[in-house]
Amino acid sequence: MFLLNSIFQDPERFDQLVSIAQSSLLPMVKGAIKYTIPLTIITFVLGLILAILTALARISSSKILNTIARIYVSIIRGTPLLVQLFIIFYGLPNLGFTIDPFPSAIIGFSLNVGAYASEIIRAAILSIPKGQWEAGYSIGMNRTQTLKRIIFPQAVRVSIPPLSNTFISLVKDTSLASLVLVSEMFRKAQEIASTNYEFLLLYSEVAILYWIICTVLSIIQGRIESRLDRYVSK
């Protein structure tokens, strides 16, 4: 209200806000392009690889692999992401491992995505009917071939919607990387706001940028889903 009143009563203030918004846009977009987006993409790819390996460990018959995967998922899901990031960035140096902000963030977020996505992939694999395994076996495939050629492609389709949600959450979660000193988009907003105290304006602006990125991603998600739906009756 205060902001709106002051805008309407004072055209000069309005102009000032517009110019701050404009001049802060470039640094924020840069933060997005240099850090937020690469962090999201790299993390998601690494996280997915980790997730697939973890899911395979979870459905394997090996007790050891199964236990390791279980403990990993349990720890990641049972502790706050921010605490995980702090342990990696601020904690590990106490053991003599100092990791730069960006790699720290990549490690932290990848471990996080890996755990959550592994549960999605595992559930998707388990959701494929037993008859599909048997059909694979019946034409002479072994377990690996059946998993790779028959089960996995179908599981991918099942897991695209929840994985897309993970991806979109990740975009937003990368804002936490600001707290381990990565100069991503939100940190840029914080830095600018700390010089001119226009917190509402700058945080709203960065919110809009996140929203635009997520909306674009949702549209892409929709496209991918409808492409993968081609073999499913509507």
Binding site: G131, Q132, Y137, S138, I139, Y231, V232
Partner: protein, 253 residues
């Protein structure tokens, strides 16, 4: 050709197969009938090792498998399994693959046959089951009867010595049953060795060389269709036949 010796299968405490002995000669069609829960599906699944028998032996085309409760290496299971082609009650086609890809999958991935050659053969097989114009359709675009015929073509694709059918028509609308049975008759006429579990008694009468009646995991009686349908020796067989076709026995006389 196939020789099953004293085959037992238990699930936990439940003994489902209690010593099955059966011989199937090359090119013969055996139809297995019996009440629900008698172990027909389990017997077929044991023949292609989707279930591992608890004890006994199976020999198919000079490949002998003995069962004694010990774990069998996957390699051995896989190679023995390729001797048989399985047709499932609910088709189990791969939904993410076209009819053609369903049929090519085994030959290409398992047998390593070059794609072009596998494709030609798959088209031939789909032709044979009357689906020449459906090769690029996905399973969801096909009727149940068409899906089941793809299922048969897929099983034939791996060039099995024996085809196993587990109630291939029981999930189908009545008007679609005929086409599938026709395909099976054609196969039988070409000399394919077949073991068929079915409730289609007309098919059994026309096509089977031997009918095997199973109850409670045992073979109660076996014989030619004429022997079983018109002169069943056992009370249990008689009762079963009356149940599924209350009047058909009388009609035969």
């Amino acid at each position: 050709m196939i020789s099953i010796k004293n085959l037992h299968k238990s699930f936990g405490d439940l003994e489902v197969l209690k010593g099955i002995d059966l011989e199937v000669e090359l090119g013969k069609v055996i139809v297995i009938i019996g009440p629900s829960g008698s172990g027909k599906t389990t017997l077929l699944r044991c023949l292609n090792l989707l279930e591992i028998p608890s004890s006994g032996a199976i020999e198919i085309d000079d490949h002998l498998m003995n069962f004694n409760g010990k774990e069998i290496p996957q390699k051995k299971i896989v190679s023995f399994r390729s001797l048989t082609g399985m047709v499932f009650q609910n088709y189990n086609l791969f939904p993410h693959k076209t009819a053609l890809e369903n049929v090519m999958e085994g030959p290409v991935i398992v047998k390593g046959i070059p794609k072009k050659q596998a494709k030609e053969k798959a088209i031939q097989l789909l032709n044979k089951v009357g689906l020449a114009d459906k090769i690029d359709d996905y399973p969801f675009q096909l009727s149940g009867g068409q899906q089941q015929r793809v299922g048969i073509a897929r099983a034939m694709g791996i060039e099995p010595k024996v085809m196993l059918f587990d109630e291939p028509t029981s999930a189908l609308d009545p008007e679609l049953v005929g086409d599938v049975l026709q395909v099976m008759k054609d196969l039988a006429e070409e000399g394919m060795t077949m073991v068929v579990v079915t409730h289609e008694m007309r098919f059994a009468k026309e096509v089977a060389d031997e009918i095997v009646f199973i109850d409670h995991g045992e073979i109660v009686e076996k014989g030619t269709p004429n022997e079983i349908f018109t002169h069943p020796q056992h009370e249990r067989t008689r009762r079963f036949l009356e149940q599924i076709h209350p009047l058909s026995n009388n009609n035969e006389h």
